[in-house]
Amino acid sequence: MVADHGFITINNYILMKKIVIMSFFALFFLQACKKDQTLIDNEKPEERAGKELQKLSNELIQSTNGWVAHVYTSEVKGDYSFYINFKENNVLTIRSDFDDNSFNTEQTSTYRLKKVMATTLIFDTDNYLDVLIDPNSNKGGKPGLGFGSDTEFEIKEQVGDTLKLTGKRRLTRLSLVKATAADKNFYTKSGIDGLSNYLKANPYLYIPDEKDANKKVQILINTDAVNRKVSFSTVEDNIFVSAEQFFAFSTPGISNLPVVYAGRTFVGFEWDKTNQKLFAITSKGDKVEVLVSTTPLTPLHLLIGTKYKSLTVPNQTTYPGWGTDFVTRRATAAKLPYSLKLETLKFDFNNDTKKVVLTVGIPQGTRQFYAYFGYDYTKTSLGVYKFTKDPSYVSPNGNGAIIESAMVPLLTERLTADTFTLDYFAHPTTKVILGQFKSVENPDFTFTGSLQ
């Protein structure tokens, strides 16, 4: 009996367990397949997403004065401004602050808003924004990367009249701010154009020192897209002191990240279009009138190796400021072995060690290679340079040896044979300030390059 009783108990127990498990399953099925649903706002997710997209689209289109965009690039660090009008049917018009052409000529292209992972604004046909992405941009930038920017931007945040976006590939920051009537005027009614012309006509600007009115603080505003910087500088006992920041053209003139110089913090410039005057703006809101000098305030040879670390001779066959002897000799040197092409010549100066490294861009097909040459230099107090080959220099690769014999006309027969002076050279059309080396012994051997 006892044994029997025990058997029945175990059987009952198994049956009980089965029923419990079955009931669980039944409950799961019933619950899982429940059809009722409660919708927040009585809308399905896709409907809400669609509405949000439509709302944003309306907001972009309905801004009467359009939008001011700032793109903060990652490869060539900078801040570039654009004036955009979004219109119906995916059409937009755009101007940018790169140069005369881009702020005077409006471009039309398409755009669209799309829900991908987040709401995404896509500039889906080419316009000025792509100058910053273009790996072969004629405005400069790094090979394969351009200035470092994006085509597709995710909308991250909306604060008042500002939309903050982030690029999908390179995480580029883009801000879109609803434009005011003043912004519209600045970008479309030759505000930016007038300022740009003023800067071209007056390359040597200064403000008086706060403490000593006889001392001049030089202001250099380089508008060249790839080297765009504003700098404040003085020379004290032949030592150059400076501070600089990149900037964008922006109402009412120029906006830059704060530059601290001699006790004052400068945040931008105000352009008085009517009186053709420029004022430096401090963080306290003070306006300091910018004055015009007709001659350079600082000799270039004091700046190279300090303010300017390098001089880059562009990849051209002729260029403003190049002497006939340089052009001929460059053409001779361009016959490099192994299908290599002679492109840029970049001189990197080190003021402390008095050494200079010449980096020669020698691509082969689509692959970029560089060759390196090291030199020591001496400089007289009047700025006459003498270069000698640096016997201790170890090239990071063997490419220098490969092209050395082809480069003899430029290097052995001139660079290390002659002495050189260095001076400013204004590009005749763009008015960008370049550096020019001139051989004392062979006045026809001169070459210019951009200063960085």
Partner: protein, 278 residues
């Protein structure tokens, strides 16, 4: 018995619980997650390519059209029509005229992707190609922002890309003939970028890119013969060494035979039609 009862019970529960009384109530017209609106260019493409050849032209930039480790830049809208007109004139029309719609329509890539810049590799930011083909379905054309229909060299270069890519599509159904790669066997993969034109000439390759693989070599041969033309090919043969010339002639013959045997197309007639069109 007990088991049958159990099974019936479970089935009953499932059937009752999953019974649907209403139709699925999703109104897709309210679910617009892409604000794409067609314009005149889209309409022109629809009328001239989608309706006629079942080709969709994707010109509005979408990074998902490219592999995640590749990138390019958007095309200028005003380049779209000239580029596609050239595609029709120099590629679609000659094939349809010579080989017929029955041959062409099933094989023509269904999507053309247009891009403004070159195709770049994300790993080293190096330009890779001026065109590529994806699974026989899509041909992508790059560097179109520099395209000028009046620039003969640019036109030839672009037609070269398209005919090159289409050859790959033909090779996907009927492969490159046996023995083709034995004619000049110096295929070197990606190292081709470091090799000179002179080396390629000496070994009987039509271009530097030909040295990548037999697939690329064959496609380069076909597109050179079609686009640059027979005269250019003959003078190329004359300009290289005798040995290299023989190799080029052998490859030429294999190309002509391939079209005849595989697809019944008279390659010489096709060559004339392409040459006349551009």
């Amino acid at each position: 018995m007990k088991k049958i009862f159990l099974c019936a019970w479970i089935l009953g529960v499932i059937l009752i619980s999953c019974k649907k009384e209403k139709a699925l109530n999703v109104d897709l017209s309210k679910s617009i997650l892409d604000g794409y609106k067609g314009n005149d260019t889209d309409e022109w493409l629809r009328l001239n390519f989608l309706n006629v050849y079942n080709i969709e032209v994707l010109y509005r930039f979408d990074s998902f059209q490219l592999a995640v480790d590749r990138y390019s830049t958007p095309v200028r809208e005003d380049k779209v029509k000239p580029v596609m007109e050239l595609v029709r004139k120099g590629f679609i029309n000659p094939y349809i005229d010579v080989a017929g719609k029955n041959f062409f329509m099933p094989r023509v890539p269904k999507e053309f992707g247009l891009f403004g810049g070159a195709l770049y590799r994300a790993i080293d930011n190096t330009a890779e190609a001026a065109g590529n083909a994806d699974a026989g379905r899509q041909i992508n054309l790059f560097v179109l922002n520099d395209f000028d229909p009046n620039n003969k060299a640019a036109v030839i270069q672009m037609m070269h890309v398209i005919h090159h890519e289409f050859t790959h599509i033909l090779n996907q159904t009927i492969p490159v003939p046996e023995g083709y790669d034995a004619i000049s066997n110096n295929y070197i993969g990606d190292s081709w970028v470091r090799e000179s034109q002179a080396n390629a000439d000496n070994m009987g390759f039509i271009s530097r890119y030909s040295r990548k693989s037999k697939m690329e070599d064959f496609a380069e041969m076909v597109s050179f013969l079609l686009v640059e033309g027979q005269t250019a090919f003959d003078s190329k043969v004359k300009s290289v060494s005798a040995d290299a010339g023989v190799k080029l002639r052998k490859k030429e013959q294999m190309v002509v035979d391939y079209f005849q045997i595989s697809y019944g197309i008279d390659f010489r007639v096709l060559q004339d039609a392409v040459k006349k069109s551009i």
